[in-house]
């Protein structure tokens, strides 16, 4: 029998999202992911002082603002001719700010967004909102082990807060930090700040090593079938990120299931719009040249999100893509971490393409970043500058590509008469949660859902576990369509 499961809203993600799955004989045959809110940031950015984009684009997302701060600063560096001039202190502090945000975002994601799909909070805290209502049934950890995970849920609230406090040492405040600006950063790396940062970082590293990673392993052991569920498109993409004096922490690359890396070039990114509310004439263009006109009467369209593709192929972005990219490009730390975890759970590299693979990659990446941050702190030079001065160019173009907690993010800008003429952002969730493209290929989340067996249609744990493993950020993806100031007509969202 064919039935439709609609989950609207999908909660415990950033933003407004709905999922629809067509289930035939207990197996998902088709899936749609849709965003249900639109703000139109690019329209708002037009005509403004380009430097303000660095402040405003952070407000796209309160969970990962520093990723947009970094991408916009790199974009402005590029446009203002500063790309080679940012001092080492500036590069390192930008990375320390972004790294702190990675840690808060990943810990928040596992414990406060995802864990309630696996951990039975009600048995520990009682029948209390907001822990009820919930899906009932498939909670497999019980007794003391479950109680400990619930305690870690509470402890993780403190740790993620401390990540924000650490970030603020150089970033001023969070959310929406102010430290990362074109040319470098606003704060100087004084010795007292370095020590203050280091000891906060030590406490967070202790939590990642001794609580977060062991908890992910414990959940993986109890739910080991989720190494088989949510395989997805099996094509991973990382732009590379964390621009350090000695190069990038994360290596760019495109990897299929054969794990042979292809080099990445941003010119190969295009965006399809056949199933999005835009005129088809704008389909298939690179974001640096993309021109999009809304067309709200398209019958086949069902999403506010466009379909970014790499050489016409669907890609998955995120911690899994980054860890695999570094793994296959022989980064010793990534190899050691991934091999050790796979050994502990008795799984092969293939198992990474799964719900649990995504959670594991996120936890291991937290360790990779946190350990690296300790090294970056020692490279800071208190007597040296952290910023170079900049001027707005009269006319210019820029691109800023980096990695956000949820995957690669890119900003593209054109400046005319010292004002923003055009600003465009492609976020990781736009890739992951995209609708079908011009060739009819479903997006990464849709592909991960299609083919899944749903045991209980009233409590479709499988679907929400798959969706949440991607850590979707709808504020990022849906609010960022690149309209060019055209007024939208009347339309409906499916």
């Amino acid at each position: 029998m064919v039935t439709k499961i609609k989950i609207d809203p999908i909660t415990r993600i950033e933003g407004h999202m709905a999922i629809e799955a067509v289930v035939d004989d207990g197996v998902v045959k088709d899936a749609k992911s849709a965003g249900t809110l639109f703000r139109g940031f690019e329209i708002i950015l037009q005509g403004r002082d380009p430097r303000d984009a660095n402040r405003l684009t952070q407000r796209i997302c309160g969970v990962c603002p520093t990723a947009h701060a970094t991408a916009s600063a790199l974009c402005l560096d590029d446009a203002f001719g500063l790309a080679g001039k940012v001092p080492d202190n500036g590069k390192l502090i930008r990375c320390l700010i972004l790294g702190s945000n990675f840690l808060q975002s990943h810990i928040l994601h596992f414990y406060h967004l995802a864990a309630l799909d696996y951990v039975d909070a009600v048995s520990a805290v009682g029948d209390l909102a907001p822990f009820v209502p919930r899906y009932e049934g498939d909670y497999r950890v019980s007794g003391k082990a479950n109680a400990e995970l619930v305690n870690h849920y509470l402890k993780a609230l403190d740790i993620r807060r401390k990540c924000q406090e650490m970030l603020s040492i150089f970033g001023g405040k969070m959310p929406h930090s102010i430290g990362i600006v074109p040319g470098g950063v606003t704060e100087k790396p004084t010795e007292d700040k370095i020590t203050n940062f280091l000891w906060r970082l030590n406490e967070i590293r202790d939590f990642v090593d001794n609580v977060y990673i062991p908890d992910v392993v414990a959940v993986a052991k109890a739910y080991s079938d989720y190494f088989e569920i949510g395989k997805g498109c099996q094509r991973l993409l990382a732009y590379g990120g964390f621009d350090l004096p000695a190069g990038k922490l994360f290596k760019a690359g495109i990897m299929s299931s054969d794990l042979k890396p292809e080099p990445f070039a941003k010119e190969n990114i295009t965006e399809d719009v056949k199933h999005s509310w835009y005129a088809d004439s704008g389909s298939g263009k690179n974001p640096a040249k993309g021109e999009t006109k809304p067309d709200t009467k398209k019958k086949q369209a069902y999403s506010f999100i466009k379909s970014p593709r790499y050489k016409d192929k669907v890609c998955e972005l995120g911690p899994l893509a980054r860890m695999v990219s570094n793994y296959v490009q022989n980064d010793a730390k990534a190899k050691e971490l991934v091999d050790s975890l796979l050994g502990q759970v008795g799984a092969g590299v293939d198992a990474l393409f799964s719900v649990l693979g995504r959670h594991a990659a996120r936890a291991l990446e937290s360790k990779l970043v946190a350990d690296a941050m300790a090294d970056w702190l020692t490279q800071l030079k208190p007597d040296k500058p952290a910023i170079v001065d900049s001027d707005i160019s009269e006319e210019s173009q820029g691109a800023g590509l980096t990695e956000a907690p949820r995957g690669a993010v890119g900003h593209w800008m054109t400046v005319k008469n010292k004002k923003v003429d055009r600003y465009q952002v492609i976020t990781p969730t736009a890739w992951n949660a995209s609708p079908k493209d011009d060739k009819g290929q479903p997006g990464a989340v849709e592909q991960a859902i299609i083919g899944t067996k749903v045991k209980d249609k009233e409590n479709p744990f499988e679907l929400v576990r798959i969706v949440r493993a991607f850590d979707p950020c709808l504020a990022c993806s849906v609010h960022l369509l690149d309209f060019r100031g055209n007024r939208l007509g009347i339309f409906k969202v499916v």
Partner: protein
Amino acid sequence: MATKKYPVVWLQGAGCTGCSVSVLNAVSPRIQNLLLDELVPGHQLNLLFHATIMAGQGEPVIEVLKDTEKDRKGGYILVVEGAIPTAEGGIYGSIGEKDGKHLTIVESVQELGRNALLTIAVGTCATFGGIPAAKPNPTGCKGVKEVFAENGIDTVVVNLPGCPLHPEWFTGTVSVILFSGVEALDLDDVARPKLFYGKLIHENCPRRADFDKGKFAQKLGDAGCLYELGCKGHYTYADCPLRQWNNGVSWCVKAGSPCIGCVEPTFPDGTSPMYEKVTFEELTWSQK
């Protein structure tokens, strides 16, 4: 004595979740205390709905909204984060599916607002429209108070702007309400509690002495008053310099950034360009 519980519904409109994340950063009380404990003796919040942290999803959580509105008339607190998209009947923003149709944010805020004990608008988007309502305001975004006024809803609205708001502006306001009642809040002309928004940033700024001496930073990263770099602390009312952010670690001006006036009703259009210095008129018109 039995604990008096205050059901809370936290709706998210056109926003970024930054205000929720900021409230997660609360220190004393911590978010755990807000969720699980008596916030003040004998009084406790009971968070029925918050899309970012609640366990449930889909239809059952929309039922929570329906039940709250119907069964707890006049007895719950509505918190709104994010602006309200009103263009084209509100189709730019929906928070779920209700009875087979999109439940728009504008519809939900009105339904829940009409029957709430009071409404707290958190962040500049929910209070004044904020960035989503910035020119050309493509989705017709408005703040809660404006939407209520246009629809004849007379529920009290307390405005706690900020991009995001400081967690203590939220926990402190709730404390006043639980201890002494909403009428004890002394609000300014745009419904902000003077307890938090009563002081000019410029008057309490640690760089004020530099301003008085005429020592001005000429580029980002310099010491001195940030007036030449566009600081909007000259007309922005908030206690950031005294309270500081993230457990007292820092705040914008301390970390070398000009204030961007994020708590003001005109943010961001009226406070832009952010790096252009304020005019003489702006410097003087808001000396209350």
